[in-house]
């Protein structure tokens, strides 16, 4: 499989990171202006509109928040810092940057790894 070079998309990833931050902050606020609608729209643009063309449709980027998911050394979609003493039963405790995936048709690629802090749940 040809690995697309994602370097050129760096600024887009930075925007996605910001959207992720906004989404995270929104979870704690009750607001009546349906900001989440605008947010979802922006996410949708990244996922379906921005990079699709007439010859290649359905490509785009999505982000995923892995908070609470389990972690071990086989997991390459995030870069982890391990907090605490134990390395058993690690879970993702804090997400500094979400995982950004490149979607093309039914298959996906990790376009940018997430950055997380993990800690043992014991």
């Amino acid at each position: 499989m040809l690995e697309p070079n994602f370097k050129q998309y760096k600024s887009y990833f930075e925007i996605l990171d910001q959207l992720f931050e906004v989404e995270r902050k929104l979870e704690n606020i009750e607001e009546t202006n349906s900001i989440s609608r605008n947010l979802n729209k922006m996410k949708d643009i990244f996922e379906t509109n921005l990079f699709s063309s007439s010859t290649s449709s359905d490509i785009g980027f999505t982000y995923h928040n892995p908070i609470g998911e389990s972690y071990n050394e086989t997991r390459l979609d995030v870069e982890a810092s391990i907090a605490g003493n134990s390395t058993e039963n690690l879970v993702i405790k804090e997400v500094i940057k979400p995982i950004i995936r490149y979607k093309s048709g039914g298959s996906t690629l990790i376009a940018r790894k997430g950055v997380v802090v993990v800690e043992s749940k014991n």
Binding site: E73, L76, I96, R101, V117
Partner: protein
């Protein structure tokens, strides 16, 4: 087979890399599991059943020190070994280095057989340490190992970049400040021969120390100024501390800020999601300026300068005797490092090579000059015959799926590794046994492909012929496919006054599914005005047929009576359509301007027929029918005309009945009429399809010929590729017999034609000429005049790019066409 070694490895204390010389240039191989990066952290993690090398091992380095080893290069050539708890064995620095070298082999994607290699070593290595490095190379399966000193490698990278392999005789320094170690070497070149004369170093100084300083000396004090904490630094740095997780998050941000500070004068670090001792939510933005950061690292950098001074004194040299100071290692990206060293020593800092890969690149250049010396003893090669029988679920809704396999053949001394092709999972190197099991984590709603590779003890790939492991996650398991296309009716801007269907979900899409589309509306909706309406009509049936011929499965009508304010033309209508597994259709329309949502759920068993809409469609259909009959008669196509005339009678009956229906009719009449109408529309559709198809096909071939000619004369590679892509699909889209599909392809070809034409001088001149004729109509006469002057000059100087810009500028000055008065039915379109 190449006769020179060509491949070089930078086996670093903290990071390693591998590069290859190819036809005069060097490529640095990317880390296949960490793309975007070409380096591999020199860290090895032993688990009971697997060995993990690189980034993942590095993450565990501090937390699981009994099983993870890093910085072992410092111990090369000593009798010291590392006791590994999980496997109850001890590993020597040579063993560990061999693991890193083996992992680097997997970076090489050019299919080379790796038997000969150049490996770099620090200038400080003595012969025992050098021999240990050679030993590690042998252990990793290389038959010929050539060593090269790192400062020389960096110098070679520089010399080759300059394309003058002969540098002038003299001295220079190689200043190597990496992630965790610092080395400086004095290199002398005499009669074309390079030699390391002297060196100094600090094994515990590098970029990661700077990150730590930022957190400890800048961030923590600033947090404590504003919030109440008892010994925050300890609480962060201790593994049992309350804020240990936060510490790593700050270290991460500090590293990022450090990188940013190389380019800008200040960087922000946001501290949030933690509470102080009094329960106050911490939320602050800490600004770190370049000068604060520079002050922070000044002492460390001055320490490196002292080492250089020591070298100079020892060799009775002054700064003037040194040509330049070659900067290597990631931390030399920091401008202050370059400036400070240059300023104090008065030796120019040379930053012309990529500091992270210079050593590997230099090693590869050196490798290109070293002949291979391997006895080609073919019989030595072992013939492995391994066959793998795999079993796993090809579809799964779990987050991971068990993969099991039986191995036939001699598995002794062999290893395997399973990697997910999106780069998100690596099992690590595991021993191959007769039966293997592995839990494979799946990405939701995607096809997951894994590859299983078998390696021998030296990480050479053993051919097994096993197919990629494909597991489909999420959809496609219980979800049923859509039996028909689902489309949205939109105004057809190509045929003013008509509507067409826009595909939303293709037939056989798997349910549930969801899609959101946004359209600017093409007419204003005035508050309170009932006749201003938008229609969201969702149809089931082929995308290619007329809207009236398909089954209406959901409709939302938005009139002026419902809106809370006037909605301007051009404002956005966001339409979301969702179909559940049980085929309930949820349609919602959202008006951006009034922040109003109109939503309805349509159940497939209860048909919803809107009488106003039905009447409108019947009227439209009647006039369309009349037109078609007239057209067919004109063309003397009596067969079609005959068929249509028959339909005409049915049509009249339906129209009569529809007229009698009241808006609140409660009988089944509306459904019967709807059915009849649909059948009539289908008949019209099929009777006239040939005509439309012929027209579209003719147009396509015309466009194709024109496009081909243009591309041959003045197309570029990209355009040629797009053209070929379209043409290669020709048989497929022609076979659909869909005028719309074919039209779409013609449009794509047309856009290529447009692109090329806008580059060709003749076309640009032509456009410019016709714009000249329209000058009187333009909005801003003085601007038009200056653009025209500039255009004439551009033609004279044959500056076609400029002429193109001018043409665009002039076009903008033309008043908009008077197409505004076209009536639209739906309220938005394509």
């Amino acid at each position: 087979m190449e006769n020179t070694i060509n491949i070089g490895i930078d086996l670093g204390t903290t990071n390693s890399a591998i590069a290859k010389f190819v036809k005069g240039d060097v490529i640095v191989f990317n880390n296949p599991l960490d793309y975007g990066r070409s380096t591999l952290p020199s860290v090895v993690y032993y688990k009971k059943d697997r060995i993990v090398v690189g980034n993942k091992a590095k993450e565990y380095l501090e937390r699981d020190p009994k099983n993870v080893v890093g910085l072992f290069k410092r111990k090369m050539g000593t009798s010291e070994s590392f006791q590994i708890k999980s496997i109850n064995e001890s590993k020597t620095p040579v063993d560990l280095s061999a693991q890193v070298l083996k992992e680097l082999k997997t970076f090489v994607n050019t299919g080379d057989t790796l038997e000969s290699i150049v490996i770099t070593i620090p200038a400080s290595f003595d012969s025992i340490q050098s021999n240990a490095t050679k030993e590690a190379g042998k252990q990793a399966g290389f038959k010929q190992v050539v060593l090269l000193q790192e400062p020389i490698a960096a110098s070679l990278a520089y010399a080759n970049m300059k394309k003058s392999k002969e540098l002038t005789d003299g001295n220079w320094l190689v200043y190597d400040l990496g992630g965790g170690t610092f080395d400086v070497a004095l290199v002398r070149i005499k009669d074309g021969e390079m030699k390391v004369v002297d060196h100094e170093g600090d094994n515990f100084l590098g970029g990661s120390d700077f990150d730590r300083l930022i957190v400890e000396k800048l961030i923590i004090p600033k947090i404590c100024e504003q919030y109440t904490f008892e010994n925050l630094e300890n609480q962060m740095k201790s593994a049992t501390g309350k804020y240990n997780a936060k510490y790593y998050s700050l270290i991460n941000q500090a590293e990022e800020a450090k990188i940013r500070l190389s380019a800008v004068s200040s960087a922000e670090i946001i501290v949030e999601r933690m509470k102080d001792e009094e329960g106050n939510e911490v939320d602050m933005e800490i600004t770190i300026t370049k000068s604060e950061f520079n002050d922070l690292i000044k002492d460390s950098i001055d320490g490196t300068i002292e080492m250089i001074k020591t070298i100079l004194t020892r060799n009775s040299l002054t700064s003037n005797d040194v040509q330049f100071n070659l900067m290597v290692g990631g931390s030399t990206f920091i401008p202050f490092v370059r400036q400070r060293v240059e300023e104090v020593l008065q030796i120019p800092a040379n930053c012309e090579i990529d500091p992270t890969t210079a050593v590997a690149i230099g090693a590869a250049y050196y490798a290109a000059t070293k002949p291979k010396e391997i006895s080609k003893d073919k019989s030595e090669k072992k013939q492995y015959s391994i066959s793998i029988k795999a079993s796993y679920n090809k579809a799964s809704k779990e987050t991971d799926e068990l993969f099991a396999a039986r191995i036939k053949g001699n598995t002794e001394g062999l290893f395997y590794k399973i990697v997910r092709q999106d780069g998100g999972f690596d099992s690590g190197l595991k021993e191959l046994t007769e039966r293997i099991n592995e839990d494979l984590p799946l990405v939701e709603n995607a096809y997951n492909f894994f590859t299983l590779t078998v390696y021998d003890g030296q990480n050479n790939v053993i051919e097994t012929g096993i197919e990629p492991i494909g597991i489909n996650s999420g959809f496609g398991i219980s979800g049923q496919p859509l039996p028909e296309d689902i489309c949205l009716e939109v105004d057809d801007y190509d045929n003013p006054g008509q509507t067409r269907l826009a595909l939303i979900f293709e037939r056989n899409s798997v349910l549930p599914t969801k899609r959101t589309l946004t359209f600017p509306i093409n007419k204003p909706i005035l508050k309170g005005n009932e006749s201003d309406r938008l229609w969201i009509n969702v149809y089931e049936g082929p995308q290619t047929s007329l809207p009236e011929a398909n089954k209406l499965i959901g409709v939302i009508e938005i009139s002026g009576k419902q809106v809370s304010r006037d909605i301007a033309k051009g404002s956005d209508l966001e339409i979301a359509i969702m179909i559940s597994e049980s085929r309930d259709v949820t349609v919602s329309g959202y008006l951006n301007m009034s922040d109003q949502e109109f939503k309805n759920v349509f159940n497939p068993k209860v048909r919803d027929t809107n009488i106003t809409l039905l009447k409108g469609q019947v009227t439209d259909l009647s006039s369309k029918l009349d037109e078609e009959i007239e057209l067919a008669t004109e063309k003397e196509d009596y067969e079609t005309a005959g068929a249509l005339s028959k339909v005409k009678k049915e049509m009249e009956a339906v129209a009569d009945e529809a007229e009698k229906l009241t808006d609140d009719d409660v009988t089944d009449k509306r459904y019967q009429l709807e059915d009849k109408k649909r059948k009539i529309a289908q008949k019209i559709d099929s009777a006239t399809k040939n005509k439309r198809l012929q027209k579209a096909t003719d147009y396509y071939y015309e466009t194709k010929a024109a496009c081909e000619e243009l591309i041959e004369n003045s197309g570029n590679d990209h355009e040629r590729k797009t053209f070929n892509d379209i043409v290669s699909q020709e048989s497929a889209f022609m076979a659909t017999k869909s005028p719309l599909k074919i039209q779409e392809k013609s449009d794509e070809l047309h856009s290529i034609i447009g692109q090329i034409r806008w580059r060709t001088p003749d076309f640009l001149k032509g456009i410019f000429g016709s714009l000249l004729n329209d000058q009187a109509k333009m909005n801003d006469q003085s601007q038009a005049k200056s653009l025209i002057d500039a255009g004439n000059f551009a033609i004279e100087s044959q500056n076609w790019d400029r002429l193109r810009e001018i043409n665009f500028g002039l076009l903008d000055l033309l008043p908009r066409g008077s197409k505004e008065d076209i009536t639209t039915k739906i309220g938005f379109g394509l």
